[in-house]
Amino acid sequence: MSGVRVLVGTHKGAFILTSDGKRARWDVSGPHFAGWEMYHLKGSPADPNRLYASQCSGWFGQIIQRSDDGGKTWTQPGTPPSERTTPEGAPKAESNKFVYDTSSETGKPLTTHQFYDGTQHPWEFKRVWHLEPSLSDPDTVYAGVEDAALFRSKDGGKSWQELSGLRGHGTGPKWQPGAGGMCLHTIVLDPSNPKRMFVAISAAGTFRSDDAGETWRPINRGLKSQYIPDPEAEVGHCVHRIAMHRSRPGVLFMQKHWDVMRSDNAGDLWQEISGNLPTDFGFVVDVHAHEPDTVYVVPIKSDGEHFPPDGKLRVYRSRSGGNEWEALTKGLPQRDCYVNVLRDAMAVDSLDKCGIYFGTTGGQVYCSADAGDNWAPIVRDLPAVLSVEVQTLP
């Protein structure tokens, strides 16, 4: 019987939750890397036992961890004895080295962005927010980092090179940090076109590459954001998350700072689909594994009040690709609930009855094994959840 493996990143370690296809009984493993901020963990679609994890700390910096056995054991790529030295004898262990490209040969990437006070500020690496393994090669993985940039490793995480065409395409001086910093938090790979990829940055917007990450252009037409001088500017929008269904890669869904949006032309133009949501602020958005027009969001009261409206934790589902939303509440707390659901903390499995998962800043990870109709907590008392990913296992 097939099963699922849920990868949970929290403020104080990582946890791995496993179950069979019924998703009723769970084994909990962890904390892995106890005490460290685990921003994101994700498995390779090409090799489910290959996992990557972003481990970081304000004190000790960034670490990349890799597992080749589904999370039972972990190594920092480049540090095992067999990998420690180059043929010249120099130590490797460059797996946590993220250095912005400043070379003149690769497009003269920009060296400043807009700071909170509107002045220009140099790019400073802080952490990896999101790791996106290649759809076809377990050794290739992309990293979205703060301050916003995109890196790629082709050697299983041992070394990283910036795809500097993103920072260098020209709009960088208009990017600015959101409340969480200036982070590249979303990477979406097009399963039908290996040269096409999308990224989202807070607060800059959404960008698309059609040449495997070499060159980029902003795709934010149709977005309206009242918190920037020109609400319809080319860049500057605080996009919180974008999602795609693999069968229909030209259709994108977006949870913006405010507004839930949809594009039917790979981001060339966006339209609002907030419809009857109680509030259209939020962080997560995801798509049902088998129904490309079934979309999920978790409305949050406002940018100043990061908790559910009325103290009721409700997932909203649209079966029509937006605009018409229904509240999903069965099994979720409907009073006195003031947690948040962060942007990387929702995922779906691909079992016949699609499972939906999300984690909260209160340490709960909820699962619905029936596409959102009924919910139950897998765990209730983890540290604040930063990210949730799920692997559907054979």
Binding site: F33, A34, G35, W36, S57, G58, W59, F60, G61, Q62, I63, Q76, G78, T79, R84, P91, K92, A93, E94, N96, K97, F98, V99
Partner: protein, 98 residues
């Protein structure tokens, strides 16, 4: 032989439980000790000093012999008690790291 005490997070990363002992060939300074530490434990590269600037991370401090050595030049010789192994060099996370 130089004795180094790492903060708990870095002991876990390096898979060590107690003090780390290092043999240095040249003069014992903060720089040479961290160089030797990183050579023995590559997984610590970038965690004590920034990869690019090679500056001590701002939330880490170097203590020895009841003195704060954090703001000494990285090439200043360490106290004789550290060089002789009588006292350890303490690498400490700032108290804000609780």
């Amino acid at each position: 032989m130089i004795r180094v005490v790492l903060p708990a997070h870095l002991r876990g990363l390096a898979h060590v439980s107690g003090e780390v002992e290092l043999d240095l060939k040249g003069p014992a300074t903060q720089r040479s000790v961290v160089d030797a530490l990183e050579a023995s434990f590559p997984m610590l590269r970038g965690t004590i000093r920034d990869h690019v600037t090679q500056q001590r991370r701002p939330f880490l401090r170097f203590f020895a012999c009841e003195e704060d050595l954090s703001h000494e030049s990285p090439d200043t010789l360490l106290p004789e008690a550290v060089v002789s192994g009588k006292e350890p060099l303490l690498i400490v996370g700032a108290i804000a790291g609780g």
